[in-house]
Amino acid sequence: MERVVVSMQDPDQGVKMRGQRLLVTVIPHTVAGSDVVEWLAHKYCVSKEEALHLGGLLVQHGYLYPLHDPPSLVLRSDDTPYRFQTPYFWTSTLWPAAELDYAIYLTKKNIRKQGTLVGHEKEHCDQLHRKMSHMWDLVVMQAREQLRAAKQRRKGDRLVIACQEQTYWLVNRPPPGVPSVLEQGPERSFCAAEGVQMTKNTEFYKQEMERCRKALTRARVKSSVCLEAYLKFTSQHGPHDPMVSGCLPSNPWVTDDDTYWTLNAPSVAVPTKLRVERWGFSFQELLEDPVGRAHFMDFLRTEFSAENLSFWEACEELRHGGQAQIHATVDAVYRQFLAPGAARWVNIDSRTMERTLQGLQQPHRYVLDDAQLHIYMLMKKDSYPRFLKSAAYKDLLAEAVIPPDAKRRVFPFMRKPPHSSPSPALLPASTSGEPVAVASGPECGDGDT
């Protein structure tokens, strides 16, 4: 589809840019490289650099060709004249370039000026000669015919046609080292395997109708509400986004200093202020951070409801664990948390408990989902807000570190080589499976504060 758009541009441009330039032999309808760039920049409101890039792509794909004969398709932003390729040769037509045509082209080149065939072209020519030796007479004859017909045209036309052809073959048979612009990824079929295609008629449409029916009855939220939610989320997380607000002490990729990672390691003793703040955004953020989760667990212990979090963790293990472990995990969970009189009995409402116990007869991965959700909501609506208001959390906020801004290095020769950190695959598996980054020595900024 991009080719269609590219080709659409040409007639537009043609209309605006048909400046007549005179060369030694008069060739109409040429455009200068710089004009192309300017026009693109103007029409699409983009920078010169981007316009040059876009124009360059057009040339690479063979929609524009240079008239002076360098065998490379590059857009130069100066007076170099270019012309638009005739639609016959556009790549969007997707006609495969025939070997026979290529042979004829190469032979013509050979005949016209003996020995002008460049390295790879000569190789190709020889290859084709061998492959089509039985047809070679035809090839030579065709080549001669075309050359004779060409002689009868004006010099200007001849030059134009030669350039057109050359560009076409440069695109379709690129010289070695130049990536071919015609390469595509593996073929994608529009219709999948036969099975799907056949059932498209009855099953498929029944499903579609079901889905549409459900869609009609689904509760939708007003756009304004959803969009406001984005604004809120983005502004809340903005200060935490290194790309938007930078990061302290410095972005490791920019300064080669990985202090930022050391300070924010998954199991660091003193978390940074930003990190502690993030725990207040949502319950999910708190649980996802191992340090946050540990502190929350401590808090729950003071409230004697730590078994809730443990139960939730056990359910997560069930949901994401291996298939073979399901029975064992369910058993363990039942014994520890759900059995009457269990050591760490969790407080679930009777209906959910009944349903869960029933489901335990045939344990499967999602059998504890209801109970897990109930406990999760309990923690979220009850314990979590209390945690945020608790003295423990406030202390954490107060003690949290704000890393100093690394002083700008004026002389980059002081840069230390980046230290490697051990791969997670080397460490013994910890409970959360997170690696601990090795502190890379006493470096922070210039180190001489």
């Binding site: 589809m1 991009e2 758009v5 590219v6 541009q9 693109l40 983009v46 981007e50 890039h53 876009l54 792509l57 990536p179 593996p186 994608r188 529009f190 395997a193 799907v196 549409c212 009609l216 689904r218 939708r220 007003k222 756009s223 969009l227 984005y230 989320f233 502004s235 997380h237 903005g238 935490h240 986004d241 290194p242 790309m243 938007v244 990061c247 490791p252 990729w253 920019v254 990985d258 930022y260 990672w261 924010n264 949502s282 319950f283 997560e316 949901r319 994401h320 291996g322 298939q323 073979a324 999760y376 080589p417 490697s420 791969s423 695959a425 080397l426 598996a429 499976g433 690696p435 980054a437």
Partner: protein, 370 residues
């Protein structure tokens, strides 16, 4: 998404205006009613009222972003052919990348050292993923399978020997991703299906049918209940699935060409998609519609890969015209264009802590930008 699927020729008394007219079935709050066409139109209007404001209007209040400067900070050279896919490790510096010649390489991109390399028995390895624990990688492509390799530093062990073949599809593997643990993998394939597998046993846990053509990409939702994922395919549809039941929960069909890449907004309420029609679009799950289009007339090549920055303010999109465009998600405008690659950008991921993003390209290199 169709609103009126059925046209039933029933004549009778309209449930709203009580006139005798030809009726259509209409659903209002899960109740089926029969409205005449006049009243049905009014209902349509009411529904349209739900979409009461555009994103860029709401975003006018938001501060504009400052001058945006991002440069290539690392260039990873080592692949002998087009880089097709990459993924970050949770330790924020390691990445795994796969290429057309069958090589899968694990790098420490901070030091640009290669740590592991595996040669797959097939070419076009289009999918690779790092396990959450950092101890294994998964990859697949034209071999129709997804294989998991545990990472080992033991010089005596050949990594290929420990390979575990997990997924089996009937066509190429286009995308794979571990779920919250090392034990399960979600895959998308050219045979039009997605599937959830147990890594240890290779058992198929759930399969997802519904796409009418090759599925090209998928992404897991970052939600707290963590049960859904979105997939995009050559049938121009993006579908949201419930992992537990295997049902498609929502579908969006506004793109005009193959969807190459889908990625959730960090809050999980929306997702963005990049497509061959040269646009990226943002779909909201609660409003059940497309809320923004990121496109420019000067961009005529398809977007191959998209990802959000940590806060969701920026959308990075890699295109087939060798560039990366950075979009302001809220305002809908382009913030910046990044040059540097010498061939198509095939894959792009933001690092887990949002400090940088990595792009892989058909020019055999990967670049980390910050």
């Amino acid at each position: 998404m169709c609103d009126q699927t059925f046209l039933v020729n029933v004549f009778g008394s309209c449930d709203k205006c009580f006139k005798q007219r030809a009726l259509r079935p209409v659903f209002k709050k899960s109740q089926q009613l029969s409205y005449c066409s006049m009243c049905a139109e009014i209902l349509e209007e009411e529904r349209a009222k739900l979409h009461d404001v555009e994103l860029h209007q709401v975003a006018e209040r938001v501060e504009a972003l400052g001058q945006f400067v991002m440069k290539t900070r690392r260039t990873l050279k080592g692949h002998g052919n087009k880089v097709l896919c990459m993924d970050w490790c949770k330790d924020k510096r390691r990445i795994v990348s796969s290429s057309q010649d069958g090589k899968v390489i694990v790098w420490d991109s901070f030091t640009t050292n290669k740590e592991h390399a595996v040669t797959m028995p097939c070419t076009w390895v289009m999918a690779c993923a790092y396990a959450p624990s950092g101890c294994a990688i998964a990859c697949g492509g034209l071999d129709n399978k997804c294989s998991v390799y545990p990472l080992t530093f033991d010089k005596n062990e050949n990594m290929a020997a420990k390979k575990k073949s997990v997924a089996m599809h009937t066509n190429y593997l286009s995308a794979c991703s571990f779920t919250n643990s090392d034990m399960q993998i979600l895959t998308a394939s050219g045979d039009g299906t997605c599937a959830l597998w147990d890594v240890e046993s290779g058992q198929l846990l759930q399969s997802f049918h519904g796409h009418g053509a090759d599925v090209l990409c998928l992404d897991l939702a970052p939600s707290e209940t963590g049960n859904t994922f979105v997939s995009g395919g050559c049938d121009k549809k993006a579908m949201v699935w419930d992992m537990r039941s295997g049902q498609c929960v929502q579908a969006f069909e506004t793109h005009e060409s193959d969807i190459n890449s889908v990625r959730y907004y960090p809050s999980g309420d929306a997702f963005a998609s990049g497509s061959d029609d040269a646009t990226c679009r943002l779909y909201d799950l609660r409003a059940d519609r497309e809320v923004a289009i990121y496109s420019k007339e000067s961009i005529i090549f398809g977007a191959s890969s998209v990802d959000f920055s940590l806060s969701g303010r920026l959308l990075f999109a890699g295109y087939n015209d060798y560039t990366i465009n950075v979009w302001d998600v809220l305002k809908g405008s382009r913030v910046s264009i990044l040059f540097g690659h010498e061939n198509r950008v095939s894959t792009l991921r933001v690092s887990p802590d949002g400090t940088a993003f990595c792009s892989g390209s058909w020019d055999h290199t990967l670049r980390v930008w910050a």
